[in-house]
């Protein structure tokens, strides 16, 4: 089947029900999305499907056909950071960093949908993802910074 990831078409030979996460990681070598639970609890695997955050451990490969898949690698790069990534760097959010790809993808999706979220909206949306290190206060602050920056632009 054909998958379009970060703007590039890939031909993959996998079962229809292989989770997109594992197609990305083990078939395409795109390792930004992480495995944490496999049951939509942690969100470390969060990617965008046509710009909307989705837990890639729950998306069948077959269902990702014909959809624009964006991973953290496609959001921005170390040389050209997305505004959300720049805010994550500015606030030094990450500790172990393992959940942060998913957190950033979730935040970017939130801000695309709701450019100036209230504190409660940020808490509600970001509570979909888990961080074991306890970086939530910095995630909160970084989402606000990113929102402000995106509003200016």
């Amino acid at each position: 089947m054909k998958l379009k990831v970060n703007g590039t078409e890939h031909e993959v030979d996998v079962e229809e029900d292989m989770p997109l996460l594992w197609v990305l990681r083990d078939e395409l070598g795109i390792t930004g999305p992480k495995y944490g639970c496999g049951i939509a609890q942690c969100g470390a695997c969060t990617v965008h499907l046509d710009g909307v955050a989705a837990k890639s451990c729950q998306v069948w490969a077959a269902d990702a056909e014909g959809v624009e898949v964006t991973t953290i690698e496609g959001l921005g790069t170390p040389e050209a950071l997305h505004a959300v990534q720049a805010a994550w760097v500015e606030h030094q959010v990450g500790q172990c960093g393992y959940c942060q790809s998913g957190q950033i993808m979730l935040a970017a999706s939130l801000l695309a949908e709701s450019p100036s979220p209230t504190d409660d909206e940020i808490d509600d949306a970001m509570s979909a993802n888990l961080c074991r290190c306890g970086t939530y206060p910095r995630i909160r602050a970084a989402v606000k910074t990113a929102a402000a920056k995106l509003q200016e632009a």
Binding site: W22, D26, K34, T71, Q85, G97, Y98, G134
Partner: protein
Amino acid sequence: MGRLKTIARRTFLIGSAAVIGGVAFGVYTYRKPVKNPLEEGLAQGEAALTPYVKIDADGITLITPRAEVGQGAYMVQAALIAEELDVRLDQITADPGVPSAAYYNGTVAAEGFPLAATDDRLIARTGRGAADVAGKLLGLQLTGGSSTVPDAFEKLRVAGAVARATLLRAASEETGIPVDQLSTKDGAVVLPDGGTLAYTALATQAAGIETVQDVALKDPSEWRYIGKDMQRIDIVAKSTGTQEYGIDLQMDGMLHATVKCNPRMGGEMVSYDATEAETMSGVKRVVPITGGVGVLADNTWRAFQAAEAVTFEWGEAPYPSDDAAMWDQVAASFTADRQDSQFRDDGDVEAMEVAVEAEYRIPYLAHAPLEPMTATVLLDGGRLDIWTGTQIPRFMQVNAAKLAGLDAAQVHVHVLVSGGSFGRRLEDDYVLQAVELAMAEPGVPIKLTWSREEDMSHDFPRPLQMARARGAVSGGQVTGFDLGIAAPSVAASQLGRLGQPAMGPDVAIVAGAWDQPYTIPDYRVTGYRVPPMVPVSSWRSVGASGNGFLHEGFLDEVIHAAGADPLEERLRLCWHEPSRRVLEAVGEMSNWGEALPGGRGRGVAFTLSFGVPTAEVVEVTATDRGIRLDKVYVACEVGRVIDPVNFDNQVKGGVIWGLGHAMMSELTYSDGMAEQTNYDGYPGIRMYQTPEIEVRALETDALRGIGEPSVPPAAPALANAIFAATGQRIRELPLNKSVDFV
């Protein structure tokens, strides 16, 4: 023993020069390492200036041997070296190096001695010095016990200074200009005419000369990194998905593997049937290993699927099969023959008039770092390569060698960044499984990835604990406090798996309880050792993590029985100035004493752990949807803050870790198996439940680590706040067994 004592004394004197003499003055003689591991395999033109600094024409590598598990260890180690080497942090690469006795931890072993951090007597200091000797003799390369900063603070700055002095001499020899006319700046030697010679250009010259051994360290007023806000060296990678963790490793020809082992920890596999699994798509082989099987496949998910298709007959658990039976064991352990320690016994608690009596319980807890256990292993001829995140590279190297029938020198360990640990990667079980798989498939790199279910059902949890406590009051004051704590021994369980002896009492059973700086006329803390049950291990802040709740929860009860104010009475009981300061600080931060509206409550708790007195005040509101956490105030006396941003992040992370587990987490066992196998049954705290946290650091010249000390007071401060808001005293964790949270 005489010699050991002499070494202990001498090592102590050198080791504490930085503490006693004021950090920046005097000349430091570089202690010759056991053997510089960088000297092996140096290429032409590469200079190994101490075991921590490697320079060649292409760049500067700083060796940061303490594991990066999220706590910022690479950053702090690199900053300490860079401070004296005089390089910018964007000019260096941090590399964990190879396992070596040269990277021994001289501080962590001190946690195993029954020496209160507040004990400044010579005997206590000598004991801590002996920990340094023990660390050195054992070549104890280990990350843990909040020891990275205290262990590294002098060692790494001296290494940076030695490397810089040697580069200066090399530049002098190269140019004929005397050293005293040269200076350094940002990775280069500056000549009198303003010209520069990059360190990288001096590598060949520096490699050919003896390192300069006697160096002076900078005055703290000249520090450019220490104590200043720094940008973590890994923060861009960790914000762009480009940080490579163990689970991300990709190699040519690699097979993806998983394992499924007896969910009864340590139980055997009686039989298995992999007929169906072996026919599944992408599956190469199913291999029996110790206690279960491994599946080798071309994709991790396919390996997971196939592992689920294997059927097993599992052996019995080598411990009581369910929680009720285990609690019976714990409850039966408050006996003279199971008494493990009684490091505190002031006055006469037997004679006191008991006013309050209570029993407390805390459950098993999993570490459950978000990156599951993973390791990649390649066995090729007589060489074994291991790529993994670990806190114990040398123990692992030895154990892997033993398993593969090789010498340790034939085992090459490549330490990778870990997606969390919280103590989990102080074990090497997952690595040894990967070695077993590699032995079955030599010549092929095997990446083992545990499923979350395998991870949680094979965690070595924090032990369950019970306390039986009695308190006495008189004239509005706490006058008696008798705390008995029964728990299995983490030290015996964990060291046993590493093949190390665990002698004497296990301090962890009573850490954070016996060593608290309170003067109570009748005051006793007794540890009871519960026979081994589920194998247990170190969990962020170890013994203090649970004992903070037991001690401070019950102290709160006794204070209330006395009719005293929880903060005022703690201050009255506390004799230790730094501890008083943090209590006073949280009082001021939280406006303690100012009345809160109905339905709201404030709780305070204090624990001195890892040498860091930490006080926390939690504010909650009892709403009709349950308890809501409003605000947390934390003050700790941490010694020197090396990196203020990371300090803040670690303290908050520890508070959140402590609160979240206290609110909602427990690992229970049925039929010998953990009943919670993923984050649905073992939830973590989420953002909407996380209160605002205000942190204050009180600094001294002491050197402490901050990865753990904010954990222990969080649970009792929350429970005490719930009591203040509702009148309900909760003596069992998790708290959501007794109250709902919003």
